[in-house]
Symmetry: D2
Subunit: 383 residues, 4 copies
């Protein structure tokens, strides 16, 4: 009924990330006045039966059982990569070389080498590319960035970021793919640590220059998972080795002179998704906790912290939704992401965060691993 | 691609409530395993052009400019009423008489007489009917109800409910339809007071027996609205009379012996959508604030209040969505509502809240108005 | 060692209130630069042995077993009344007639008649008099008053006050004196309801004009207390009637046009001393909860609420104590009270709250009781 | 009037710490049933006039202008050291050698060497000794320790501690003694970092084994202070070098296998005295923030965090004070401290924290400084 140009989307993977991306593609047009109308064209997955069931439920028009076929299709202009990190590079590079636009889940890749190859491919390709650090699109996080840009924080002295979860506190929780280095690249570090590194760099507009780090695997062996899928996986009697970190702590210096601390853990009992960041500057401070995602706390000039309910029409992204006080949820961060991606494609601008931003995060993660392996020595992040 | 039986939905009205209902119909099938697949068949509105634009954006397949046509259509089995309260009775009764299922926005009607007629029509009709007190489907509110049912609160002593907003604090805010008695029935009382009365009765499983009330209109005259639509309406130089309450306070007794207090206001500066309810019982207490909608606070046996992040798989509705700590937003309450409505239709059970529940709330509102008019005298709610 | 003029204090009663008043008299001179140095001269109590033990522990130089003797003594210039309400009038009037200054615990009296007699005696007497609504001297409450005076709240629309406790939820909690009308005058209403009425009038600078009220006694009979003293009293097998309210709810109108609601209860399970008040005005809002007594929340112009940590040197009373962020406790409200009382005596000004203020509160309490007895009818507070 | 054995106290220094210690000595006997009655015998300070004024205000019976005289006096059995860290060793050792009991403000000393000498002197002396890490006596912190001891936290995985202040954010704040290395030993590290190191070790019952650290001085030069005293000092036109850290961050490993992070800063704009600690264990988690000092948050088995109002009679120290919900303030931590010290003296037990505990904290601080100076290398804390 609309006369907007449509743009075909092909998505690879339909687990947790695939479900939330689907909701974004499905909803974005109803709320934002977009230059392009996304069409949920194809879903790719290995099992024909399960992919078809997922497509039916999630609203994809067609399926492929080989992502290479999806990349080749003419009705696909955007490739959305929702697979584990070990396949990101191959799919993304193929899609870029096929002239597609690519939006890729984070972390960009499991290694710096792969991330570099992807970034180079993105630089050469005609298509647009974006790495899906969705927390940048939490309205409160975007508002925090705006406050920094407006000078309301002043010279930044401290960044204090943690990402706390507790879903593997139980030693009998099985050895799912996120606990295996070959599939996941790293543990808490790459999965959730990557988010707070990106958020810290995004909000402050500064790079993390170097780190001193500790990592730990508290539970070394776990029951093998009977299926490798999601959080609900159940364990078998056999055990295998946990090959990733359970927790990573690091401190470092930002390019603007701030001291920064980071902690990513899956062993913070009672903390479910506490992605928190606080920024202290010479003029003001900001604090955020994703468990209360519709709030941003701001202290001006040493005064008390104001609890800003980030649901006002002039707050980032919020005007498209509901009246003040009617909060948004997790999935909206993805809706905002694809909205910005579609606009960048239509306008010919460079989407943010770019693959280069993803590579930079990857290099921080690598520096963390090198520091942790080398007696916590302060380790510079490569350029 | 699915072989589920589809069921056609026709929606009347496409303003704020229409937008959020659309998102519910659009999303529900992707998250819940439903017995019926809703099809967004028709949208009705008075202006052809604007209705078509809304339908295109919100995803409705066809439009009608007369709701009577919508009610007559064979491809519509569910009529979803999202208009102001003055038209609810006429549309709902017509739809029920035409054999449709009806889901109707709250308050059920602008008068008790209309609400009675609707309830009688619902009782005689073959279709299912439901009044859309969406806050019952906030997972935290549903969990509160579960706690009461499980005896974790004990004998209830106190109910303390407020619904605080501030969108008309400015005396220059225009005279939109919600401030006109002929269209809206009442002011804060019917718009938001109705929600807390229903929530109190739902969570406690008790009826409010009688009330003693005060109402007030702080700003008696406002600029006429240049368009009668939404919150963003702008005012003209001419002024008109505000014919509804700005705020309503009432205290009363519940059928189980509890004392209850209620306050609905649009003049609580800084409170955006603070729909709050606290229940104190002999064994425990519960507290909820919609501005932090993913949290329920529970005190057991006089101990400290526990902040339950209502995002666990075993919490009501939540298992269908994201992992723990990844919160939901306002719109999900509607998605849960239509999910339950579709299941009731498929299973032949009676949806809740029923039109009778809506009538009961209406009778409370009327008792409030009578008490306020009669020197706050304690006024029994009619049966 | 100091050359300040000393002023002798005689205190009647040494239970809970006596202990906290003693700490105030003992500490005030060390923190505030006072015009008069209080000397803890005499403590009066009925039992010689117990009074002597209390005096030794609390730091009083001498004891009397008859308060009349205390009133007569030349080394007593200030009489501090810490007994239950039924003896306030007699002691206060005698002390005033003897030319003493009098500070009297709240409620001023158990009846309006007694309160009137006390107020008349105070008007005629040469001594200064004060009723000990200590919550006025919580720094955050005093700051709230200052904000209202400075116009930062604007025209006040709403006052929302509750005082929630839970110490008699257990039906086996014994029938202590606070649950007996002849000794306590009323229950939650006079004990804690009086505080929120005074706080509401103090912060807003407005009087409560009339009320519509409900009261309830949830537990009608309780075990007789084996000793009538404190909260720790234990019950016997015999039972007696509870003759006071367990909870009181009332709504009303303030002299400036605001709507106000009040709730005082000892049955709010999990709430220990939640004396809360929120004020909404045309320019801003204030919120306070005594359970977080070092905080005041302020919203300006509809913005987010700022959590003001009321520990800055320029906040009321705070400069005398510790650096920012080092909070005060319950007892400090009394220290501030006697500080202001001593200054008023030295400067010849009228201390606040006066006996007339106490009488006004008493009249509100009486209106509440009359309204509750008369079908919640709106009942004007007598002048 | 009491027949308790009195014990004479002599205090050295009457600035901030002296004022709060005085309040403790003055109040402790009125609330706790002590085996010994402290007598505030002598106050020592350099200026006779100012010391006499302080003694008059704070309630000390006599003064000395040389602490050596105070140490020699027969009416002094306890020496309370409230001077800056550079004089702790000399005074404490002299007092111990004179057979006195010694309570010494933290940090124990400015250097490890001094702290070692003090610890050796304490070990040989007949008197009792204690270092005044007062935060151990916050009831909520003591309750946290109790929870760990009772196994309610389980195997500890994470310790996360920060101490955030903002009183020197302004570059024009003058160069007070706390910013001079020769007087203060270090900056935020020794002043407030010492507290969180001690609290972490106290609550967990584990030692910090090694650290990797960063320190920073954001403002290198400041106006010279016109008087060296307190926070209110004003600056002159001349400038001097800041010779201590403004902030210190460190991560490390605890003896039980936990990862720990610490941050001490005076540049966290808007944070006044945010001494925060969170512990995550295999069975539960604890969280505390001194800015809300009457609260402890506890999550059991991954459930929501319960806000425990630490004002119940069975909570540590609290039974001596007020009813539930009536909070305590900063100064009470000192009152609890001297209460425990007096009991240890009377009972012949060893007070805690001991000088050895103070030395252990000092060694952590030294390891932090060595790590920071050596490229953040992981540095073991000496035994």
């Amino acid at each position: 009924m609309s006369d907007k140009t449509t743009i075909g989307v092909g998505m690879v993977g339909y687990a947790f990330m695939g479900r939330v991306h689907s909701q974004a593609w499905r909803s974005v047009g109803a709320f934002f006045d977009l230059p392009l109308a996304p069409r949920m064209a194809v879903l790719a997955g290995r099992s024909k039966e399960r992919t078809e069931a997922a497509a039916a439920q999630l609203g994809w028009a067609d399926v492929e059982t080989d992502w290479r076929e999806l990349v080749r299709r003419d009705d696909v202009q955007i490739v959305d990569i929702c697979t584990p990190g070990d396949s990101h590079a191959e799919i993304a590079i193929a899609a870029l070389e096929a002239g597609k636009h690519v939006i890729c889940e984070k972390p960009l890749a499991n290694t710096v080498a792969e991330a570099e190859a992807m970034t180079q491919a993105a630089a050469k390709a005609p298509g647009k590319s974006m790495v899906a650090f969705n927390y940048r699109r939490v309205p409160a996080v975007a508002l925090a960035r705006r406050y920094v840009e407006e000078g309301r924080v002043g010279e930044i002295r401290h960044v204090r970021a943690v990402y706390l979860q507790d879903w593997i506190v139980d030693p009998e929780f099985p050895l799912v793919w996120r606990l295996q280095k070959d599939k996941a690249g790293s543990g808490a570090l790459g999965d959730i640590g990557a988010h707070i590194v990106d958020a810290a760099q995004f909000i402050t507009g500064q790079n993390l220059l170097g780190v001193s780090a500790l990592t730990e695997t508290f539970i070394k062996e776990r029951p093998l998972a009977t299926e490798s899928a999601g959080l609900g996986a159940t364990g078998s009697a056999e055990r295998g080795q946990v090959t990733v970190d359970d927790a990573a702590l690091f401190i470092g210096r930002m390019s603007g002179g701030a001291l920064a601390s980071f902690e990513a853990t899956r062993f913070a009992n009672g903390r479910k998704n506490a992605m928190r960041i606080e920024i202290n500057g010479s003029r003001g401070s900001l604090a955020f906790d994703f468990e209360s995602m519709n709030e941003l706390w701001y202290s001006e000039g040493g005064g008390g912290f104001e609890r800003i309910l980030v649901t006002e029409p002039d707050h980032p992204y919020v005007g498209a939704w509901w009246p003040p006080g009617h909060g948004l949820g997790y999935e909206h961060t993805f809706t905002h992401e694809v909205k910005d991606f579609l606009e960048a494609i239509a306008n010919g601008t460079d989407p943010s965060p770019s693959f280069a931003d993803g590579l930079r995060v990857q290099r921080v993660l690598e520096a963390v691993e090198r520091s942790a392996a080398d007696n916590s020595r302060y380790t510079e992040v490569e350029d």
